[in-house]
């Protein structure tokens, strides 16, 4: 008999994940993308908003990089030529050619004292991985890896910076929906079938005996009774509010509509108001938390995000930074996006709570919230991780969609969606005359693809039935 190696759950998962080659590849690419975005200043030769007006390098193509000395024909350190700009009067498009009289070597670990940047908004520095140096820039030389935009801003630098928004927006949104979805889905599933009293009947005998009787004595009893009277006051408020609301509705409708139709409203609303009052007098108002949450999910799912977005964007005070606004708006959008997750989690919890170990915990007297937190939610972890890794790419795509309809992030900030929108605005010229402007589209593609690979890998790794 051989010895069995014991492995923890996470070790097993990691081992399985490593076998999924596409997922590993995806993870590696994602690591590169996030590193580029995190240290955007270091990896970009220019400030993303750097441009000059004399001359304007509008839609310059990528600068050709030369490795061979034209005089000796030998390999030399990479260099670029200066740029010569002419206007093609036939098609009204600028033409850029190399000015072979001026040569500028590409410098590595170059400093740009006039254009410092910060890392994570904290560390201020001006060290860049590569560039031409500020002297060459002042002379009009440019190193455009991916060409320039209509201002003459370096597209590569803008893309690296754009990744900061595009790559983080999904994570933020998913975090918000995760917290809400797990919590409400968990509660909903765990308490399904429990009836909670929202309001008490006002004159039933049971209410009064409930208010008076208490197993406590002394001060404890006083508190109990006081608490129950507060409860009664709340009930009173609820019933009166409901009745008054209905009567107000009645008044409003009859006040604004034609006389002939009043009958309909009166016939509809008067019985409703009477029903509410009488019910308030004799019967409690109870509900199932599961019903409440699930109906809430349906209501929220019914609000189209687009409308909410328009409203939210416009009610924000205008002196908040646009980047901040955009993040807040996306966070709020994900406030309504937790429904699907909550539904699934509820389903899982519904079956989990009948499991033996949960029953055992309950019997041991662990508080209910503790059970949910310690025993039920961890069991949904694998699903959650997979959900997150597949939801993030959909938010990256959503960001580009928002930019397409003009609801995305605004200048001077940038994102892949905004850059892709600029390419789309260029129309067929973007395909025919300057295909490099499509690079942000490729970045979106790459990020979405790799996140999906990783998500798939995780799913297979977590699922014991799919282990190989």
């Amino acid at each position: 008999m051989g010895e069995y190696e014991t492995k923890s759950h996470w070790q097993l998962v990691w081992q399985q994940f490593k076998r999924h080659r596409l997922a590993l590849l995806g993870g590696g690419i994602l690591l590169v993308l996030y590193t580029l975005a995190a240290f955007a200043g270091f990896f970009s030769p220019y400030d993303p908003n750097f441009y000059t007006l004399s001359p304007v390098y509008r839609y310059a193509p990528p600068t050709p990089i030369h490795f061979r000395d034209p005089d000796t024909g030998r390999l030399t350190r990479p260099f670029v030529y200066g740029i010569k700009k002419t206007l093609d009067l036939n098609t009204f498009v600028e033409r850029y050619t190399e000015d072979k009289t001026r040569r500028y070597p590409i410098l590595f670990f170059v400093r740009t004292p006039h254009h410092p940047y910060t890392i994570f908004k904290v560390f201020k520095t001006d060290l860049r991985l590569f560039g031409l140096g500020e002297k060459a820039t002042a002379e009009g030389a440019r190193l455009y890896l991916l060409g320039s935009d209509n201002f003459g801003r370096d597209l590569w630098s803008r893309m690296v910076y754009g990744g900061q928004v595009s790559l983080t927006i999904g994570i933020l949104a998913v975090l918000v929906s995760l917290v809400l979805g797990l919590l409400l889905g968990g509660l909903s599933g765990f308490y399904q079938g429990t009836r909670i009293h929202l309001a008490l009947p006002l004159i039933s005998r049971r209410t009064w005996s409930y208010l008076a009787a208490s197993e406590h004595r002394g001060l404890g009893r006083v508190f109990r009774v006081a608490f129950r009277f507060v409860l009664l006051a709340a009930s009173l408020a609820f019933w009166v509010g409901l009745g008054v609301g209905l009567i107000y509705g009645l008044w409003v409708l009859t006040g604004y509509s034609g006389l002939g139709e009043q009958v309909v409203e009166t016939l509809l609303l008067v019985p409703a108001a009477l029903w509410a009052f009488s019910r308030g007098l004799f019967r409690p108002f109870t509900f199932d938390p599961d019903d409440l949450v699930m109906r809430l999910v349906e209501i929220l799912a019914a609000i189209p995000g687009l409308f909410l977005l328009v409203t939210l964007r416009s009610v924000f005070p205008s002196d908040i930074d646009p980047l901040m606004t955009f993040y807040i708006v996306v966070a709020i959008l994900s406030l309504i996006g937790w429904g699907g997750l909550a539904r699934t989690v509820r389903g899982m919890v519904l079956s989990l709570r009948e499991m033996d170990y949960v029953t055992a915990a309950r019997a041991l007297g662990v508080r209910e919230f503790g059970i949910i937190l310690r025993h039920v939610l961890p069991a949904t972890a694998s699903y959650t991780i997979v959900y997150a890794s597949l939801a993030i790419p959909s938010f990256i795509l959503a960001e580009s969609g928002l930019s397409f309809i003009g609801f995305g992030i605004t200048e001077p900030y940038t994102s892949w969606g905004l850059l892709l929108k600029a390419a789309q605005d260029g129309g067929f010229a973007s395909f025919a005359d300057r295909p490099w402007v499509l690079a942000p589209g490729f970045a979106i593609f790459l990020a979405v693809l790799t996140w999906n690979f990783v998500g798939d890998g995780l799913r297979d790794a977590f699922d014991p039935r799919r282990r190989r």
Partner: protein, 327 residues
Amino acid sequence: MSAYLVRRLIHLIPTFLGATFLAFIVLQLAPGDFLTRWALDPKIRPETIALMRHNFGLDRPVLVQYLIWLKNLLHGDLGHSFMYQQPVLEVIWPRILNSLVLVGFSILFLYLIGIPIGVYQALRPYTPGDYAISFLAYFGIAIPNFFFMLILIYLLVQFKFAHGWTPFPIGGMTSQGFEHFPQWRQILDVLWHAVLPAFVVVTADMSSLTRVMRGLVMEVLGQDYIRTARAKGLPERVVLYKHALRNAIIPVIATIGGLLPTLISGAGLVEVVANWPGMTPLLLDAINQQDLYVNTGIIALSTFLLIVGNILGDLLLAVVDPRIRYG
């Protein structure tokens, strides 16, 4: 079962009221209204705008506007579009039909292609074929739809330049002279126009369907009863179709109910780029112009369909899966 159905239908009312009221509030919270942009027209006097605002009922409290809308809804009236000066239903109905054609066509496409592909992948997991299909499916998901459509249109224009004709129409829903076609040709013409946008929509949704299908079939194939069936010596074909597929397809059927609202909400930005006269272009216009009742009408309809779709999904599930019982 019928008691369950009645309970769900009763729940429909508060959900619907809650959703529409919330939507109404959200729409009205946005500053300005349909008439705000008129104010920048030097030809229009402010008195006129005040008058129009009164005529549209926009000067009343939000709650009153909502209650009146609700009352009209009881009479089967979704309100009046400010943009079109017509009943909302008359405005959105033709667009719903157009979207229905495109979305219905693509859903059909999706299920006809997606399910067999998923099954194929499940039967040959971790083979080059499986990987290749996965990669293609991801490809579809990773390109924003509107951009994919633009690329296709560009390619069509280039094709036209090179050959003088195009295999598919460049946008639109009907050909020139459509009105004079016989009916069979009209149907073919619309479908012919729908092929490319439907293709774009399908590519985006394909990966999730094939992935789900692949997972489900793989799971079912690992079950004991399949092993038993195989052990009994049943032909693989029978095992697959009679036992495995039937069970694997159940969750997919449950999602069909959820498709109901998408049937009217349109195919998204593809419709704009492909120039398909569906719901999305109308919706974008209505949002931009704050055409209150068109917006509310669309929300109300899709909410209704969403809830009904959920109920339908649950019922479907009960029909195909005898284990599920509703009390």
